[in-house]
Symmetry: C2
Subunit: 269 residues, 2 copies
Amino acid sequence: MCELLAMSANVPTDIVFSFSGLIRRGGQTGPHSDGFGICFYEHNGVREFKDYLASAESKIAQFLTTYPIKSKVVISHIRQANVGQVSLQNTHPFQRELWGKPWTYAHNGQMPIEHIPQPSEFTPIGQTDSEKLFCWLLSTLKAKSHPDATLDEVCSLMLSVCSQANQLGVSNILLSDGNYLFVFCSNRLSWITRRSPFGEAKLCDDDIKVDFSSVTTENDVVTVIATTPLTNNEHWHEMKPGELRVFKEGESVWQGYSEPVIHKKTADL
Amino acid sequence: MCELLAMSANVPTDIVFSFSGLIRRGGQTGPHSDGFGICFYEHNGVREFKDYLASAESKIAQFLTTYPIKSKVVISHIRQANVGQVSLQNTHPFQRELWGKPWTYAHNGQMPIEHIPQPSEFTPIGQTDSEKLFCWLLSTLKAKSHPDATLDEVCSLMLSVCSQANQLGVSNILLSDGNYLFVFCSNRLSWITRRSPFGEAKLCDDDIKVDFSSVTTENDVVTVIATTPLTNNEHWHEMKPGELRVFKEGESVWQGYSEPVIHKKTADL
């Protein structure tokens, strides 16, 4: 299975600590050695870094662990390929512009690509089911919503679309327009919100600790979402299958549930 | 004026030598200190690196000079801001998907943003005249052409659109779909094609030489396009105002001319 990582914060925050844990799963503590990608929103702009090499070996990933980019929304993904060759065009996160905003998306799961409806407004560049699903999801948003829709309207539509995706196969989704972070759990996602008083955290995948109280102010609110918890001394919330949760500025601002789907436990996705 | 750099090659080639010269113009040998960006096509995928810091000081730019990425098409830009704040969203190259391909674009010049027709299919994310022009150019391509159009049809349309842009103000353009590299000269662009027998080249902006014969094979064909020549011991072709030239696999495959426009020599653009 691929691994997902995201962050939503109320102040520009670096994600080096969490990212350091994630990338070790890309070929070292985990088998996800078919590339990685990470998008940092900074104001309305996006900085994207991708490699088709294993993140544990990628010089770009190593560079990022030494170069803290401060951001309020981050989406990242390490890949274990099942559909589509190992190449940049098949590397998440994927990105498209809608309503003058750069939307980014990462996915884990698997479904028969021919079961995904043909996207009307965007065309996949690569061969993955994930990117086709993204194009269909964003096409539906473009066709059925508008830039001035309320949060509740957008989230309800998103829940409906994610739920349809979930009927097609395992489909854990991270999606953002740089403001909101939409997180849909098909079968496996956890999240944690860190706020004052901050404590010490210890990575599961590496011998690294961080004392957040030394790098934050008392007003900071930082939520991290990951496929499985990245630290072993904190309490992470496990999301429910079928749950959509939306974060803004580090806070959970919307949640809704669709019918959970019992997915067959196939090989790792 | 911003500075442009592009490459088209018939084998994956690294652009570290040329890029090393360019980035010194971003705050050191030149005044273009408002960010830089570079896109590398690798198969159908794109790797993009951007910074809003001066390229001469950017750690990302420094990293790239030590990490040769091999690509057949590259587009790069260093920015001296005139419209739009210094931020990622206003940093070239810009990117949009059309017909399942990632199109990238960089521009130098300036025009009244309100004179650019409203783009129908794509929406600018930032505030620059350059990005609005890109959205309009790509919207026109989407509306008036199709994925199976011949090279001549696409180039003729592109020449017509670039010529209209040129009427609005200085508009030097680099555009690619990863296969073809379209280069439109409004007032300043030069290019050079290097092929066997390869010789030694010496950068204008740095004390760096490279002996291309030691890093190439006799079948390699590599074209580099830049605002002004990057080396001082080779013959570069100066493009004519109003000229569109299209490269593929390092070779010039199409050229056409529109009516040149005598642009007023305003301050540096």
